[in-house]
Subunit: 341 residues, 2 copies
Amino acid sequence: MRRRPTMRDVALRAGVSFKTVSRVVNAEAAVSPAVVARVEEAISDLGYRRDDRARRLRQAGTHTGVIGFVLADVSNPFFSAILRGIEEVASAGDFVVVAGSTDGDPERQARVLDAFISRRVDGLVVVPARGADAQLHAEVERRYPLVFMDLEPSFEGGDLVRSDHRGGARLAVEHLIAHGHRDIAFFGDDPRVFSAAERVAGYTEALTAAGIDVEPRRVVHDHLPASGWRERLHEGLAAERPTALFTAQNFVTAGAVRALHDLGLEREIALVGFDDVEFADVVRPGISVVPQHPLELGRRAAELLLGRISGSQSPPERVVLTSAVVARGSGEIPPRRRRAR
Amino acid sequence: MRRRPTMRDVALRAGVSFKTVSRVVNAEAAVSPAVVARVEEAISDLGYRRDDRARRLRQAGTHTGVIGFVLADVSNPFFSAILRGIEEVASAGDFVVVAGSTDGDPERQARVLDAFISRRVDGLVVVPARGADAQLHAEVERRYPLVFMDLEPSFEGGDLVRSDHRGGARLAVEHLIAHGHRDIAFFGDDPRVFSAAERVAGYTEALTAAGIDVEPRRVVHDHLPASGWRERLHEGLAAERPTALFTAQNFVTAGAVRALHDLGLEREIALVGFDDVEFADVVRPGISVVPQHPLELGRRAAELLLGRISGSQSPPERVVLTSAVVARGSGEIPPRRRRAR
DNA sequence: CTGAAAGCGCTTACAG
DNA sequence: CTGAAAGCGCTTACAG
């Protein structure tokens, strides 16, 4: 690639000092129209673009106009919708967004954070990986603009935007109970992940409030790739089937729906999922879920972050979005069999 | 936020010159172990991170270790999967990825490109918006590392990675013809979008090769938001229904499947879509598609781009990925009614 | 209205 | 083994 032209190159071609070019580029007053015209022509001839790095290095010393989004996996529609929400607000404020996937792995998170911070992003939205909080804690301590997304870190402080995992789970399970179920299985992520812990807590609360014992064998936690849940559900449904399922994450729901269809049980066993899935309304029966609002999560996080970047010193904020059950069929199937106890 | 510490701050605390700090940070030899230890302690006390902008400004003059992905919409699973593929290859090469959505709008594309280029991204993967090629052409001319994705620009030159839109469409329609259909409708994006034009061309080729006339009323182009296609299909299916549909984009397929189910026609009218959709295997009948390979598209583009960034001068490359029909049911429905002609 | 000097936080030669 | 000077591409005060 040809070297990008600098202000000096433009100045040379226009026959002015490079400071004059700077004035034209920044639309400062006090430049004669004739000079402006000459400089602008040189700029367009050379395809000059101001180097923002150098500019900001001198100017603010620290602002780059870039914010980072550290997440588990951009190809998960939940996260890519959040990214879109962040991007909307960011671009309106003249920021761009770098995104980095960690797959929830502490080491990958550390690498992504290093890469972002050494490039001096002005702030971060972070879905924290489990067991990798030390570095994040240090950044929060130094008041680096940082908004946690979806999951809570293991320490206090810092802004946070997430769904009400526990409340949503509770609503989902209450919905199943209201349709007559008492034998409801939980399938979800590793409980060391904050949201998974909260969702199983909501499940437990709903059962307990209804006077139903929580049976350990009905609570299945696992940490699997998106494609692994279908088979995991086959195992889970091999014997002594529950009358209903609460699937605590979008990939789990997707796997469960596939497994139920594989087994021809989609009209026998009720299902409510946490987080919406594509085509939930087309599959028969439709999939009842407690949806999240990822675009809104992204927007709120970006707004908070931009506020911090521009210097807001208010106490840490916590934004927790709630939502209600969307009934589409699968969650309204009554229990087909009664068990002893 | 507290000001981030600089090498000078570290040097002051460790009682050395800031050049020595630079040596430690860059793990250059020739520093006594005692000094290294002192500097490292100061670094960790202050939470120092080298400022990569300043470093690269001095070093290469131009490299930032950031590449940009300019696309239509990150929340479209097709694009977010491409992003994931780009990210994989990029992070292995120590690059981070900024992503910017344009919604295919030339003005938004110009804004995103300006934002990226002024921040001196080292290269770009671009899904070009229609009618906004001038700036991209100039960048290609100056040999700025640039890989086009999914859509071709209106000019020659530049690297390119995309699916074989025409060939895939042809396979899809041939599949329907092979199952006895002669009255096949096309639903797709604005034909001024490259991929839409190619896909309708493939549709036309398949019909023509089979000796079937292309009827203009059977070719519906529209530029709609994701949610608009369901209703649009209702219109398209209001009267004189075709026996089969070729839906030329994932959102169109999603809308068509919903419309067919709304009308109870999902087992009457055959459907093959271009690009895969979530739950295509769970919906009944399953949705037959010609899938794309977005992760692979992303990886290939990033590999090409990183090659250019590191100086490859080989002629522009064109990577065109093909794929075959995945039969899941909807595309194998025979024609139910015969029409005159 | 225009320009020469200093400095943002680093690295690259050069000295000692 | 350690440091003082110059410079990356800009902007910020100061002059004229």
